[in-house]
């Protein structure tokens, strides 16, 4: 059991940041929205606990890829902490996306060599 959790954690380590940045590309969002969005768009494939988002969010903020601000949510009439992508964050997203693509291609080439050569 312990081993499984660890595997998932390592998988998320690199990708979670990218997923968050990607989510914020659509516009500012608070932690809960980001979590929900990632879960929804992956069809609940990534069964992550929302809590694990926050360390990542604060890490991204510290690196200057996102900024945060307390703003009133239009539907709830309460303040939430909204995160917004910065220019630096956008650049980082491009870098990470291309890296991810390269890696995915590399992995695919290993797993399905024939298909990729033909394609």
């Amino acid at each position: 059991m312990a081993i499984q959790t660890q595997q998932r954690a390592t998988l998320l380590q690199g990708t979670l940041d990218m997923l968050i940045l990607r989510t914020l590309l659509y516009g500012p969002a608070h932690g809960h929205q980001i979590g929900k969005h990632i879960q929804r768009t992956t069809n609940d494939f990534l069964q992550m606990q929302h809590g694990s988002l926050y360390p990542a969010l604060h890490r991204l903020e510290r690196r200057g890829w996102v900024t945060s601000k307390w703003e009133t949510a239009p539907d709830r009439n309460r303040e939430f902490k909204y995160y917004r992508l910065t220019e630096k964050g956008k650049k980082q997203l491009t870098v990470e996306e291309s890296q991810w693509k390269q890696m995915a291609e590399a992995v695919a080439r290993v797993l399905w060599p024939a298909a990729t050569e033909e394609g």
């Binding site: 929302h50 809590g51 926050y54 360390p55 990542a56 604060h58 709830r76 303040e79 939430f80 902490k81």
Partner: protein, 899 residues
């Protein structure tokens, strides 16, 4: 990042998590889930909030610092919760650290501190040794000049001679001070500079009597001249001879004799101006010329690359030549004899590292101080053992807490770090208090040591190395014994720990605790025995009768020669007559040296017509110049003959009185009355003195010394400079002090009068070191006893609390309360017995080590050993009384239910 920013961030995070969690909950409810269910679902979806918080804080990059702050706050809270434990540990640690540091700082100052001079490692102290006088530190001017020529070996040589109690007159106001005569090379060889004006230079050493310049010490400049720069060029009178102040030396330089504060330094060539009798200028024994006059202390600076051994071998032939010159120069002098010549020629040069100044103070203080150091080291050991057992029992009591915390998911490392933090905090608090104690202690110790008549001038600084050492030892003890339980607790499965109540672990701990207590008992016994031996020695020394009656005697000293009055006999007669008329005075007399003084003149004696055994004419005899009624005044019994009368003055037949040891030494069983002897070595006068009396031996130097050869000569037949008056009173001698001083002042108000004191006080002063050691060891013995008592109490109280269940069962099975109490008591006494069995041989060994310091009792003094053991046992019973009573008052039902 600052703490307020951290706090703001933390509040921000809290708000963010709360708002998002609330939203999740709302959404769940909107989906139709019940309120309770929604809350749980939201929490599940969210995960471990505490962990999230910690991980998020990690992301800020400030976590280690925050965790440290947290640990410290937690540790403070934990320590604050058990205040008794915390205060006791801190006090114990402070005591150990403070005592060790204070004592060592003092020892370091007195013994080990380097001179505040340039490059002290290359300084060597010149000594000579021969079969008759094993250690000799004085050299002749002739030898000094010969050494000065040896530039291949020595980068420089200096010579000096101290001037004890000189009168320095500034603006027609006199005052006594310590001074020294120095060679022109003195300051340059030492590398000591003037902070004002200049030092004495080789150019200040031209012709005898032609260099009236003086360099004063910083302290003297401060106290006598209030740091006035106008002191340069000022005319002062030293022993009535005019000098000009040319400079002031740096504040940290006090001369080469530790403990002496040199007020003034003048060139060697001026010796005849300040002490003409000693200088004997122009005569055959001229101090600046005669090769046989050894009076200079010599230090040299080695050329780099020259070792002491090499230097000794190179200088030895030079020195040998000077001793042959000295022997030859004796020709025609009254002290010339083959034996005296042989003494000179057989002298060999000895060089010693000079970096610690003259060794006198060092030797005087070193043994008692080393004993005190040993005592303090043992105390530090007890301290550590005590703190260790305190920490152990506390940790034992907290084992359940550790198990609970581990079960609740605390990391083992966190647990360890927290205990570690607690230990460190304890040690630091103890350390800070210890530093304060050390600072205060070293000053009080110095004051205690300087309680004697001679003011000891040392600048004591708390020694940082030792402070560091003591701190490190305490820190190590605290950390090791504070965290052992954490290691053990971590090794035990929490479930097991909770279920078993960790009995097994407790067993191991209390074995360790017991060994620590036994160790404390053994060491305490050693300290107690030492304290007892020293206390009894002091009592014996005080009660010892020195051969005269020291009670009810007033002493005061005057030196009329310092103001140029050389015709002292009429003056002394006048003073004696006046003093005798004071009501309450029974008799009065005078002598050159005060009774019990450590200053004494010795010479060799020639006996008329006696065939002496080999070497007997070299025996050194102490000479005392005394006035009439001396023996009556001090109540020294005369065995034969008479004492000196007022008629024994210049012009009358020369007479002498010997003590019984001298009589036996030279005349065996024959009657010495009417025989004659001479003391040519004393002042070059070889006329015969007729023995008129034999007096009982007294202890001159020190009440602990064996009787010496002693010769009394009438002061009025051979007058000398300063004298000490002894006044026997029928009332408290302190009450006539003013009347006596008025009597002296009424004769001449300018007379330098000093050292007014009682003989009994003088005797107590001569025991100052013994009293110091005794009070130290008593003090530390008491502390050791107290610490051991605390340790024993802690252990027994802990044992009883652990065994409440067992005691309950025993009682339920019919054990009487008295029996239970006796059981606890028996266990305590068993521990004490083991401690005593281990401690007795150690104490015996320690007692043999200090046997040289004991007086009037054997190292294995049964009274002391019995008293120490009894004290230990009494304290043990005291320590176990409360735990035993608590054990006896255990309610069996209550105890069993708890189990």
């Amino acid at each position: 990042m600052h703490w307020w920013q951290i706090r703001k961030r933390r509040a921000d995070l809290e708000r963010e998590l709360d708002s998002d969690l609330a939203l999740e909950e709302e959404e769940q409810r909107e989906r139709g889930v019940s309120a309770d269910e929604a809350r749980y679902a939201a929490r599940r979806a969210f995960g471990n909030t505490t962990l999230v918080r910690e991980q998020t804080q990690d992301a800020w990059g400030t976590a280690p610092f925050e965790r440290l702050v947290h640990d410290i706050r937690f540790a403070l809270r934990q320590l604050g919760r058990s205040r008794g434990f915390t205060l006791t540990s801190i006090l114990i640690l402070a005591l150990g650290i403070g005592a060790v540091t204070a004592v060592f700082s003092l020892i370091n100052t007195a013994l080990l501190r380097m001179l505040p001079v340039h490059d002290p490692e290359h300084l060597v102290e010149f000594k000579s040794t021969n079969p008759d006088f094993p250690v000799n530190d004085a050299f002749s001017m002739h030898a000094f000049k010969a050494f000065q020529g040896q530039t291949q070996t020595l980068a420089g040589v200096l010579a000096f001679r101290n001037l004890h109690n000189i009168d320095i007159e500034v603006d027609s106001e006199g005052g006594l001070a310590e001074g020294q005569l120095v060679s022109g090379s003195y300051f340059s060889v030492l590398g000591v500079n003037a902070i004002l004006g200049r030092t004495i230079l080789p150019s200040d050493e031209t012709e005898p009597g032609q260099n009236p310049v003086a360099v004063i010490g910083y302290d003297y400049w401060r106290t006598r001249f209030a740091l006035d720069p106008a002191v340069l060029g000022k005319r002062i009178l030293i022993n009535n001879a005019p000098f000009t102040v040319i400079g002031v030396t740096a504040p940290e330089f006090y001369g080469l004799q530790p403990g002496k504060r040199i007020a003034v330094s003048i060139p060697l060539t001026m010796v005849a101006s300040v002490n003409p009798g000693f200088a004997a200028a122009g005569g055959p024994a001229d101090a600046l010329k005669a090769a046989f006059r050894n009076w200079l202390y010599v230090f040299g600076r080695l050329q780099s690359g020259v070792s002491i051994v090499k230097a000794t071998s190179r200088l030895e032939p030079v020195y040998a030549q000077t001793t042959r010159d000295a022997a030859a120069s004796l020709a025609g002098s009254p002290i010339d004899s083959p034996a005296v010549r042989a003494t000179f020629i057989r002298s060999r040069l000895q060089l010693q590292p000079g970096s610690q100044g003259l060794a006198i103070l060092r030797e005087q203080f070193s043994r008692p101080l080393l004993i005190v150091l040993a005592v303090v080291a043992l105390l530090l050991l007890i301290t550590c053992a005590n703190v260790a057992s305190l920490l152990l029992s506390r940790a034992n009591a907290r084992e359940r807490e550790f198990s609970v915390r581990l079960a609740l998911g605390a990391g083992k490392r966190r647990l360890f770090t927290q205990l570690f933090t607690e230990s460190i905090l304890l040690a630091i608090a103890g350390g800070i208090l210890g530093v304060a104690l050390a600072w205060w202690g070293s000053r009080s110790l110095l004051a205690l040591m300087a309680h004697g008549r001679t003011p000891v001038s040392l600048s004591v600084q708390v020694d940082l190395t030792v402070l560091g050492f003591a701190l490190a030892v305490s820190l190590l003890t605290a950390v090791v014994f504070g965290t052992i339980p954490a290691w053990r607790a971590a090794a035990v499965d929490p479930q097991h720990g909770l279920a078993q109540n960790s009995r097994t672990v407790a067993g191991v701990h209390s074995r360790l605790g017991k060994s620590l207590v036994v160790l404390q008992i053994a060491i305490s016994l050693v300290l107690l025995v030492g304290a007892g031996l020293f206390t009894r020695t002091l009592a014996n020394l005080r009660d010892f009768y020195p051969g005269f009656n020291p009670e009810s005697v007033l002493l005061f000293s005057i030196d009329p020669t310092l103001i140029g009055n050389r015709d002292v006999v009429p003056l002394y007669e006048q003073i004696l007559n006046r003093v005798r008329q004071i009501p309450g005075v029974r008799s009065a007399s005078l002598s050159v040296h005060e009774p019990l003084s450590t200053n004494v003149s010795t010479t060799t004696v020639r006996v008329q017509g006696a065939a002496l055994r080999q070497g007997e004419d070299l025996s050194s005899v102490a000479i005392e110049l005394i006035g009439p009624d001396y023996f009556t005044t001090l109540q020294i019994p005369l065995l034969r003959g008479r004492e000196f009368f007022w008629q024994d003055r210049e012009g009358a037949p020369k007479v002498a009185i010997v003590n019984e040891t001298t009589a036996r030494h030279y005349f065996g069983d024959a009657d010495p009355i009417g025989r004659s002897l001479s003391i040519p070595g004393y002042r070059g006068d070889s006329s015969w003195l007729r023995i008129v009396g034999v007096a009982r031996d007294i202890k001159v130097h020190d009440v602990r010394e064996p009787a010496t050869l002693m010769l009394y000569v009438p002061m009025f037949q051979a007058p000398e400079g300063g004298s000490t008056f002894e006044v026997r009173t029928s009332v408290d001698p302190a009450t006539i002090e003013n009347a006596a001083l008025d009597a002296v002042k009424s004769i001449d108000p300018r007379l330098p009068l000093f050292n007014v004191r009682t003989l009994a006080g003088q005797r107590d002063n001569s025991l100052v070191q013994q009293r110091l050691v005794a009070s130290f060891s008593e003090f530390f013995g008491a502390i050791a006893l107290l610490l051991t008592c605390i340790g024993l109490y802690g252990l027994m109280a802990y044992t009883v609390s652990r065994r409440t269940g067992e005691i309950g069962i025993r009682m339920a099975l019919g054990a009487q309360r008295g029996r239970i109490a006796r059981m606890i008591l028996r266990e305590t006494l068993l521990l004490v017995a083991v401690g005593l069995v281990l401690g007795l041989p150690a104490a015996g060994f320690a007692a043999r080590l200090i046997s040289g310091q004991l007086f009037g009792l054997k190292p294995a003094d049964p009274v002391t050993f019995a008293a120490a053991c009894a004290a230990m046992a009494a304290v043990a019973i005291l320590a176990s009384y409360l735990p035993a009573r608590r054990a006896a008052s255990v309610d069996p039902m209550h105890a069993l239910r708890n189990e």
